[in-house]
């Protein structure tokens, strides 16, 4: 479409079709006073300040009027001034005039407009000012709402509605009493998700962060939390992080952040940070100098070369660090016993999708999700675990997309769902194959795509015979008509995107679940197209990168198999070593190997298996049996307390490197502040240990040099170099320095040897442990928006603790009534493996017979309950399903109880 040319105040202005007069003016650097306009939001024209005159038409609101070709606009005239002045004075009448001491001083839009329009002291003195003394709401730990400062522009309300989809606030009351309010008036008691998107958009001081200091300078980096990998600006003053904001130019988050990303950075400066190496002497961990600690570690590691050694790498460390860790383990210590927490989250995705598509990562981009016509979100509590990605789902729904939410629990995303399927935990294969069967029977599949780009369709189709809808209905608990409806909705709205997370993978049939998802997407031809795809949402910030870097027992960097001699010789030539030929042990297998005495020494970086491992007591027994355990972390975690040597690491705010987010985008992590005390970046520590073991190839002075080595050995990272990652990163595969990166996978061919995707016939397998008479309830695990993983970081952020600082056992009202349990009552949850004490939360978010816990809280170590039965392919434990019973506890909590369960709880709640 042709651009529009118009004249504003005698200047020629060119804008794209669809722009308003206000946008045209602001684009051209012509200021028109405005208060309720925000570029991210639909215009509403309620502040009446942007009045302009259009030749031949008279006065109009610049924010609402579309720019037209040939339009002649005046922004100044006597009449405009009069209207604007009245609108401004009506606002000033109700606004405190305490600008100098106001939190928004110098950054306030009202102040700017008053300065622009000009208000005389005489006139201001004559205004009949109202005395507004409404009580401010300070219930939210991160920001303050002061209705007396509010100008009722509605930007916060529209942000919460249009962008966040939380709809926590609206205009309440009427007339002079009109104010922005949540349901109860108290923000923490509402559906507010504390993301602060309203706070950053508030033009005045009605919504301000409680703690704010103007930063001295800002550093662009990546959020340390989930796999969405939002780009953030860290504001620094006096060597400390004082503010964090989103990067509006970022293709990942467009400036948006969640509560953790915006407010959850206090852990960086927390007094609990490890500041010096610790070595165990006479049972106590005592501080020592780096040299001593490193010497000891190298000397000990030297004795356990080969398969007596194992390393657990970290999805919170950079690509460069993960690369070095696996290089150390393979090239220096001579074993493939390396793994990381991806084993516990998306190993079935890596295994399953590699089998069917040739590549086990998210096929499409985050931005792409907004283009979908149908989104099928299964086994993902997206708004809690990937909040900023969930905004894309909300955006798609606002654009008219259908949203199918399949989750055993009633989750927040359900509010936006077109269709909600609440299936039984562990019945995913039945549900997905049931949908596939409907699509096959009703011939809604994409025959052309299947013929051209896939193989094994007939075998798959035959296996659908094993999923008659009566059976599917009975296995899933979802009414048959809903399954049919979901199948039709998914098949008839193309492009359709599938989002999934731990609800799919953390099962003994996790790989089958992933294969079933793959089948469904292939059946409908939803791969290789914008808005479609299979999108496993990765958990930790750099879990994608840790996998890419080969922190896995069976593959070298870039998923190059260790059992391929050609691949090995390529690495051997560069690394100058002989590599072990067979795959090593998976994380979940390592603990058994420790108990058998096969693994004697472990190097653990940025992981906390004592809380994250299924059947955690088993993991604890294993770790206690080791001859030598080194834990490298930023805090003295529950696991670090068992270590022989603890090495203090730098957090991601204190070092350079790269993270790869869930959409395969490699982004720069930049050093913002110095590490505390003697803490050092993980890459430096690994290099020191390697060098003390006599290895060459570890003399790096900057992570940039490590990335060059990665690029030279890893085809999918072949084009990665720091200067190319400015400013927005690159998505792999990026094989060469002139390659632009790959936003969407499989557009022409699949990454399989023959270029075709595979259908896989499947059978239904129930979970390994289902409720019985002795343990009558099914326990599933989920996540809280306000906590992250085992809480080592988030539990050291005071405000997050205020918002959600305690574990709760969610239980359906009917079950609670049958057991005579009241909300808030203490109970013991017991499984065949252990027990925890917890307070009950009665909520219909759980279906009858199902209870749920998170695993964020050390004082309620949920994973002592969970079942370590493994998926045979991916070796992931079934943390989503186990059988438990509940024993009511009368009287006050018994403080000694947890000590009996595990002695790690001494550090409970820090």
């Amino acid at each position: 479409m042709a651009d529009l040319r118009l004249t504003i105040d005698g200047r020629q202005v060119v804008v794209a079709q669809g722009a308003t007069i206000l946008e045209a003016a602001l684009d051209a650097g012509i200021y028109i006073p405005h208060l309720c306009h925000h570029p991210d939001l639909k215009p509403v024209g309620i502040c009446r300040l942007c009045m302009v005159e259009v030749a031949g038409r008279g006065m109009t609101l610049a924010c609402l009027a579309p720019a037209e070709d040939g339009m002649v606009v005046k922004t100044e005239s006597q009449q405009i001034d009069k209207v604007r002045r009245v609108a401004l004075e009506l606002l000033l009448v109700n606004h405190p005039g305490d600008c100098l001491t106001c939190a928004k001083n110098n950054r306030c839009q009202l102040q700017r407009i008053a300065a622009y329009v000009g208000v005389s002291p005489q006139r201001f003195a004559r205004l009949r000012r109202t005395e507004k003394t409404l009580p401010p709401d300070d219930s939210n730990p991160f920001f303050l709402f002061d209705p007396n400062q509010c100008v009722l522009c509605g930007i916060c309300i529209r942000t919460c509605d249009e962008i966040v989809g939380a709809n926590a606030i609206d205009f309440a009351f009427r007339g002079f009493q009109t104010m922005v309010s949540t349901l109860s008036g108290r923000w923490v008691e509402s559906s507010c998700v504390s993301c602060g998107e309203c706070v950053v958009r508030c033009p005045v001081a009605a919504l301000v962060p409680k703690r704010y200091q103007q930063p001295q300078h800002e550093v662009q980096t990546v959020c340390p939390y989930c796999g969405v990998g939002c780009t953030i600006y860290v504001g620094i003053r006096g060597g400390r992080i004082v503010a964090v904001g989103g990067d509006r130019q970022s293709p990942v988050n467009q400036g948006r952040l969640c509560v953790k990303g915006r407010f959850g950075h206090d852990f960086v400066h927390h007094p609990d940070r490890l500041t010096t190496p610790l070595v165990r002497r006479d049972g106590q961990l005592v501080p020592v100098a780096w040299d001593e600690a490193l010497e000891l570690v190298a000397r000990q590691f030297d004795q356990y070369r080969g398969d007596a050694f194992a390393a657990m790498s970290s999805a919170r460390c950079t690509n460069e660090e993960n690369y070095l860790m696996q290089k150390l383990v393979r090239a220096v210590l001579g074993t493939n016993n390396i793994d990381h927490c991806a084993r516990l989250c998306h190993s079935p995705s890596v295994a399953g999708l590699a089998r069917t598509l040739g590549s086990g990562a998210m096929t499409n981009t985050i931005q792409d999700i907004a283009q979908s016509r149908c989104i099928f979100a299964i086994g993902t509590n997206t708004t809690a675990a990937h909040p900023v990605l969930a905004l894309k789902v909300v955006e798609a729904v606002r654009r008219g997309a259908k949203l199918i939410v399949a989750n055993p629990k009633h989750i927040d995303l359900d509010r936006h769902a077109t269709l909600r399927l609440q299936h039984q935990p562990g019945s995913d294969v039945a549900l997905l194959m049931g949908m596939a069967r409907v699509i096959a029977e009703e011939r809604l599949y994409d025959a052309e795509f299947i013929a051209r780009r896939t193989v094994d369709f007939d075998a798959f189709r035959a296996s659908l015979e094993r999923f008659p809808l009566e059976f599917v209905e009975q296995a899933t608990g979802v009414p048959r008509q809903h399954i049919v409806e979901a199948a039709r909705m998914f098949a008839n709205h193309k492009p359709a995107s599938i989002l999934y997370a731990m609800g799919i993978t953390q099962h003994t049939h996790g790989t089958d679940n992933v294969l079933a998802i793959s089948n469904l997407a292939l059946l409908t031809g939803n791969l290789g197209i914008p808005g479609g795809g299979i999108n496993p949402l990765r958990g930790q910030g750099n879990v994608q990168g840790a996998c890419d870097m080969g922190a896995l027992p069976n593959v070298l960097p870039g998923y190059q198999r260790v059992d391929d001699p050609q691949i090995r010789s390529k690495f051997e030539a560069v690394w100058g070593c002989t590599l072990p030929p067979g795959p090593g042990l998976a994380l979940t297998e390592m603990f058994d190997a420790m108990l058998r005495g096969q693994i004697k020494a472990v190097y653990l970086m940025g992981e906390n298996p004592l809380l994250s491992e299924a059947d955690a007591q088993h993991a604890e027994r294993a770790l206690r049996q080791l001859d030598f355990l080194v834990v490298q972390d930023i805090f003295l975690t529950e696991t670090a307390r068992l270590a022989h040597v603890v090495l203090p690491a730098a957090s991601s705010a204190e070092k350079d490197g790269t993270f790869t987010n869930t959409e395969r985008r490699v982004q720069r992590v930049r050093k913002a502040v110095d590490p505390p005390g003697e803490a050092k970046p993980d890459w430096w520590i690994i290099c020191q240990i390697a060098q003390r073991l006599g290895a060459s190839g570890f003399s790096f002075s900057h992570p940039q040099e490590i990335m060059s080595e990665i690029a030279s050995l890893t085809p999918i990272y072949g084009g990665m170099a720091y200067q190319r990652l400015e400013p927005q990163g690159l998505q792999w595969p990026c094989p060469s320095m002139d390659h632009p990166g790959t936003p969407i996978l499989h557009t022409q061919r699949f990454a399989t040897p023959d270029g075709k995707a595979r259908f896989v016939p499947l059978d239904y397998k129930p979970p390994a442990e289902l409720p019985d008479d002795e343990y009558p309830l099914l326990l599933t695990t989920d996540r809280s928006l306000y906590q992250y993983h085992t809480g080592t970081m988030t539990r050291r952020v005071e405000g997050l603790e205020v918002l959600d600082g305690q574990e709760r056992l969610c239980i359906n009202p009917h079950d609670a009534a049958a057991m005579q349990l009241a909300d808030g009552q203490q109970v013991i949850v017991r499984s065949r493996r252990g027990r925890v004490m917890v307070r009950v939360k009665v909520t219909s978010s759980c279906q009858p017979g199902v209870v749920s816990l998170t695993f964020h809280f050390a004082e309620t170590p949920t994973n002592v309950l969970t079942h370590a039965a493994l998926d045979p392919v991916a070796k992931i434990p079934e943390t989503k399903v186990c059988a438990v019973r509940i024993e009511p506890l009368d009287g006050p909590p018994q403080p000694g109880l947890h000590q009996q369960i595990t002695d790690t709880t001494s550090c409970a709640g820090r």
Binding site: I157, C160, D161, N167, A168, I169, D170, F171, A172, F173, R174, S181, T182, L183, S184, E189, S190, S191, R415, P813
Partner: protein, 157 residues
């Protein structure tokens, strides 16, 4: 509360345009709109809870605190005003120890004013639990309070 709400919701389909009638029936049942009930209405109609609150607070007919067993409304229409409504209100406030718009701590009395009851011929009027009391006076105000207090006392004994 759950059962009462389900009974109310049973008469509706959960469409957003049913919001106001649903709120009216919920208030009819509880005497006011409890916070938890508003959340349930939001869930049922799939209208965001903040918008349910926005709608409810817009209309004077909806209340957010429990109402007293004796719901006294003093008419302040023109006719009642000129015939002494302000003094009646003053006396009621004194007798009850609460201000206009408040409910006594024991939930016995709520005192409100209304613009016009529509019984100007009988002015000044007061409405107690939907019963119009005609030709009201400050003396009657004191009697009204004493009468219902002794009635309440005899009930409890």
């Amino acid at each position: 509360m759950q059962e009462s709400l389900e009974a109310v919701f049973g008469r509706f389909q959960g469409r957003s345009e049913e919001l106001i009638p649903i709120l009216q029936q919920v208030q009819e049942h509880f005497g006011y709109l409890p916070k938890e009930a508003l959340r349930a209405v939001a869930d049922f109609t799939r209208v965001p809870e903040s918008r349910v609150y926005a709608v409810a607070t817009f209309y004077a007919q909806f209340r957010f605190r429990p109402i007293g067993r004796q719901h006294i409304m003093v008419c302040r229409g023109t006719a009642c005003h000129v015939r002494g409504a302000p003094r009646i209100l003053q006396e009621l406030e004194k007798q009850l120890g609460i201000k206009e718009g408040e409910t006594s701590a024991d939930l016995e009395y709520s005192l409100e004013t209304v613009a016009c009851i529509g019984a100007c011929g009988l002015s000044p009027c007061v409405m107690v639990n939907r019963q119009v009391q005609a030709k009201f006076t400050p003396q009657k105000a004191a009697q009204l309070v004493r009468r219902s207090d002794s009635a309440a006392a005899s009930q409890t004994h």
